[in-house]
C-alpha cells in the first residue's frame, strides 16, 4: 500500500473517517452534580458532588474545579500519570472556554481548546481520535463540562429571577465527562479491571456541518438542533453505506422530547427509520416529571457524563455492541440572539464498538 492510498483509505464518503488503527478508550470519568445524581442514571457516575459550588467561590470556578476533577479521576482510572497524556482536547460553554483553561491549569498537559456548544464531547473525541490514529500521540484525553448555574447566568437570567420556563426548555446538566484514548488499557488499571476483556474502540467518525433551519427560539433548542442531528446521522449511514439497524443504539446528545420526535420525523423523510433504536441522553439523564426538567437535560455535560457513566457500561456488558454517539450543539450566543439571528445547530457522530 502506498503512502497516499493509506491516507485516503481513512476517508469514507463525504464527511466521515474510518480509522485504520481505531483508538481504544482506556480510561474515563464522570463527575455529576446533585440533581444529576438523583436522576435515573445517578448510580452510574464516578462522583456525585452535593455542593453546587464545588467548594469554590463562583459558578465559573466551580465548573473549572469539576472539570479538573474529571481529568484527575480519568487519569487515575486509566492507571496513568498526568505526564502520560500527550494532548488534551476539550472545551465548555463558558465564554472563551474559561472552565477548561482554568480547570486544567495545574495538569501541564498541552491543550487544544474546542467549541461545539453541547456537541463538544463529540468534537473533542473526534479530534483526540484523529490524533491517535494519525500516530501523533499515544494517549489523548477528550473532555468537556457544563454547569447549570454558570450556563443560566451566561445565556439566560440570574438564578433567583422569577420566570416561567417554557415546556420545550431544557435543563443544563451540571457535569463533566472525560475519556482517555490510546492503543489499549494499561494492565492492572481500574479501567482494565472493570472492562477487560472487552475493548471499546472508536471505529470512525462523521464530522457535522452547521445546519440552520431558521428557528429563533433559544428556549426550544431541541428543535433548533434536530435538523443538524438528522443531517449528521443520515450522512454517517450514507458514507458507510449502512442502515440504522447496523447500530444497537443511535444516541443523540440533548434533543429532549421535542427534538427527538422531530429528528425521527425528519430522518423518515430521508428514508431512515431510527424510532426503534434511538435514545437521547437529555431524556435519559433526568426524570422530567419528578425533577421538573421539562423537555430534558442539555449542556456539554449531558452527553458527556451519559457517555462516560452509562453508555460505556452498556458497551462493556455488551448489551450494545455498536453505538452511534451523536452529541448535538446549538451555536448561538446572547449577542447573536439579541440581534435577531437564528440558532444554528451542529452534531458530530462517533462510532463506538465493543469487541
Amino acid at each position: 500500500m502506498t503512502q497516499t492510498s493509506a491516507k485516503q483509505s481513512k476517508m469514507v464518503g463525504k464527511q466521515s473517517l474510518q480509522f485504520s488503527n481505531p483508538p481504544a478508550i482506556i480510561g474515563c470519568a464522570s463527575i455529576a452534580g446533585k440533581k444529576e445524581g438523583e436522576g435515573p442514571l445517578g448510580a452510574f457516575f464516578n462522583v456525585v458532588e452535593e455542593d453546587p459550588m464545588f467548594g469554590q467561590k463562583t459558578w465559573e470556578e466551580a465548573e473549572s474545579k469539576m472539570l479538573g476533577m474529571a481529568v484527575d479521576v480519568a487519569i487515575h482510572n486509566a492507571g496513568l500519570k498526568k505526564s502520560d497524556i500527550r494532548y488534551l482536547v476539550g472545551g465548555d460553554l463558558l465564554g472563551q472556554l474559561i472552565a477548561t483553561s482554568f480547570g486544567i491549569e495545574n495538569f501541564e498537559i498541552p491543550l487544544l481548546g474546542v467549541y461545539g456548544a453541547c456537541s463538544t464531547m463529540g468534537e473533542s473525541i473526534v479530534v483526540a481520535s484523529m490524533i491517535i490514529d494519525g500516530g501523533f500521540a499515544d494517549k489523548t484525553l477528550a473532555i468537556t463540562s457544563s454547569h447549570f448555574a454558570g450556563a443560566e447566568k451566561q445565556f439566560r437570567f440570574p438564578l433567583a429571577y422569577g420566570s416561567q420556563r417554557p415546556k420545550a426548555a431544557t435543563w443544563t446538566v451540571t457535569g463533566s465527562g472525560a475519556v482517555i484514548l490510546g492503543q489499549e488499557p494499561e494492565k492492572d488499571s481500574e479501567f482494565a479491571k472493570q472492562f477487560s476483556p472487552v475493548m471499546i474502540k472508536v471505529k470512525g467518525v462523521t464530522i457535522g456541518k452547521i445546519v440552520d433551519f431558521g428557528l429563533k427560539d433559544s428556549l426550544n433548542m431541541g428543535a433548533c438542533m434536530a435538523p443538524a442531528a438528522c443531517e449528521t446521522i443520515a450522512q454517517n449511514l450514507k458514507d458507510f453505506k449502512i442502515q440504522p439497524d447496523y447500530y444497537d443504539r443511535i444516541i443523540t446528545g440533548d434533543l429532549g422530547v421535542v427534538g427527538k420526535d422531530i429528528l425521527i420525523d425528519l430522518l423518515k423523510q430521508k428514508g431512515y427509520d431510527i424510532s426503534s433504536n434511538h435514545m437521547d441522553c437529555g431524556i435519559e439523564i433526568f426524570d422530567s416529571e419528578a425533577q421538573d426538567t421539562h423537555a430534558g437535560g442539555s449542556g456539554c455535560g449531558c452527553s458527556a457524563i451519559t457517555l462516560t457513566g452509562y453508555i460505556l457500561q452498556k458497551l462493556r456488558k455488551q448489551d450494545w455492541n455498536r453505538v452511534l454517539f451523536v452529541p448535538t450543539g446549538a451555536l448561538l450566543s446572547t449577542v447573536s440572539y439579541n440581534e435577531g439571528q437564528s440558532v444554528p445547530g451542529i452534531a458530530h457522530a462517533v462510532m463506538l464498538e465493543s469487541c
Binding site: 447566568k153 422569577g162 420566570s163 417554557p166 431558521g214 428557528l215 423523510q269
Partner: protein
Amino acid sequence: MADDKNKVSASQVANEKNQQERDKLYNKYVKQVTPKHSWFANMCKAFVSGGIICAIGQGFINLYSSYGAEKELAGAYTTMSLVLLAIIFTGFNWYQKIAKFAGAGSVVPITGFANSVAAPAIEFKKEGQVFGIGCKIFTIAGPVILYGIFSSWLLGVVYYIFTLFQK
C-alpha cells in the same frame, strides 16, 4: 395531518428546495409539535396569585392606616413593605418558585420588579461592587425604568399640549 391545510408535515419541510420557504415551513412545523403551557390555566393562576399579592398589599394599607397613617403615606409604606418582602423571598430562592406557578401574577406587581433587581445583584456580586452589582443590577429592570420614564415624559408632553388648548 395531511387533510388539514394549515398543518405542515415533515415531508413538506424536507422536500422544500427554497431555503427561505423551508425555514418558514420548519418554524410552523416546530410550533405544531412543541407543547405549550395552557394559556387559560396560566391566566387563572396569574389572576389568583396576583390577586393574593394585591390583597396582602391591601392588608398592609389597612394596617398602616390603623396606626394613623394617611392614605398616601400608608401607600408608600405598603410599597416599601412589599418590595422588602420580595427581596427577602428572592434571597432565599423562594420567589422563583412562586413565579414558576404564578407567571405574570408575580411579575406585574411591584414585587416582580423588586425580584428583577435583587436577582442580578445577588448573581453578579462576585464580579465586584462596580462592574458586578453596579453595572448589572438593572440588566432586567433597566428597560422598565428607561421606557417607564420615557413614556411618562411623552404623556407629559401630550398633557401639556392638551392644556394649551384648554385656555
